[in-house]
């Protein structure tokens, strides 16, 4: 994965030299971090709601326990599908790797790449598209999970668990969808004219958002799925 560096950050320096702020930092990057900070509060409030209502549902189906409907006598198993969610968690983790490699490829455009692996490492379009595809796979897993829940009789208003679960994971899924659209836009620009080295910040902002979506899922996966 090593490559010969030829002034790898010179273009990025040029770009920043044109952007004067009192902090010396790009305002767009400060803005995306402030946005991510506010998003933290949104997701922690949703997770708090889930944790407060955890175990307080009067009717099933339940996330980890078997439940028999007294009116019909029908027995429901534990509703959460850990193998599918584990797979989607792995997919999201790999998408974060692809995203960070996309950013790395854009900010190191001037690095000379000779071998196949080096050219692959520097192919930002490939990594952007890979991230988007992995994001879509994650969304497909979530759609499968939601559909199977509804087929088993667990709708948005069935009980406290379902309401807090669907709202939290639904909000996360909406964020992933927005991230996929952002990635596709960047990939289209990269395909059309190529993202320049001085546009690293544009990719960096998308990457920060995408990694944030990933860290939120790291918390959700443990708190909702693995802790009974």
């Amino acid at each position: 994965m090593s490559a010969t560096a030829v002034e790898p950050t010179a273009g990025a320096h040029d770009a920043h030299a044109h952007h004067h702020t009192s902090t010396g930092l790009d305002s767009r990057k400060i803005a995306i971090w402030a946005f991510i900070g506010s998003e933290c509060m949104l997701f922690v409030s949703l997770i708090s709601t889930y944790l407060i209502y955890k175990g307080k549902s009067r009717v099933g189906p339940y996330p980890h326990e078997v439940w028999t409907d007294p009116s019909t006598g029908h027995t429901f198993g534990a509703i959460l599908n850990i193998p599918v969610t584990s797979f989607s968690t792995f997919v999201l983790l790999m998408s974060s790797l692809a995203m960070v490699l996309a950013h790395n490829a854009v900010v190191n455009r001037r690095v000379k790449r000779t071998t196949f692996m080096q050219r692959l490492e520097g192919n930002s379009f490939f990594w952007l598209i890979s991230t988007a595809v992995l994001g879509i796979v994650f969304l497909m897993c979530q759609a499968y999970e939601f559909t199977s829940f509804v087929h088993e009789g667990l709708g948005l208003t069935t009980n406290l668990f379902s309401s807090s679960f669907f709202v939290l994971t639904g909000f996360h899924g909406a964020h992933v969808t927005a991230g996929v659209l952002w990635l596709c836009t960047l990939a289209a620009i990269d395909k059309k004219r190529g993202l320049r080295e001085d546009e690293g910040l544009v990719v960096d902002m998308c990457a920060l958002y995408w990694h944030f979506v990933d860290v939120v899922w790291i918390a959700i996966f443990v708190l909702l799925y693995l802790i009974k």
């Binding site: 994965m1 930092l25 991510i36 409030s45 708090s48 983790l93 990694h211 860290v215 443990v222 693995l226």
Partner: protein, 112 residues
């Protein structure tokens, strides 16, 4: 201008390489496998250390992604403060709400 360049150098000079990103991904995958295994290992899953260990592993993964992938370890401290500040406020609020309304509150009120 000099301030701009200094801040920029500070932000970009120590960004990790692709190799570091690959090692980080491997570490995250291993921790995730341990987490999922713990769920299926009954003695671990039923022990008192299960929940703290899961939260610890999750927190480590969270911190590693933020530090390496989101470059908080290498970037300007202002970005770290913009992220960690709201996160700390949110977590403290969450713990407070759990004491007021969650299982923690029920345990205290019932004397367990």
């Amino acid at each position: 201008m000099a301030h701009d360049t200094a801040a920029h150098d500070d932000a970009h000079a120590h960004h990790p390489t692709a190799k570091t990103y690959l090692w980080t991904a491997l570490f995250l995958t291993i921790v995730t496998i341990v987490e999922i295994s713990a769920y299926y290992i009954k003695p671990w899953e039923q022990s008192a250390i299960y929940v703290p260990s899961m939260i610890f592993m999750s927190a480590v993964k969270f911190a590693v992604v933020c530090a390496v992938y989101m470059h908080l370890k290498y970037d300007n401290k202002l970005f770290r403060n913009l992220f960690v500040g709201p996160l700390v406020i949110a977590i403290v609020t969450c713990v407070g709400l759990l004491f007021l309304f969650g299982k923690v509150a029920i345990r205290i009120s019932s004397g367990q």
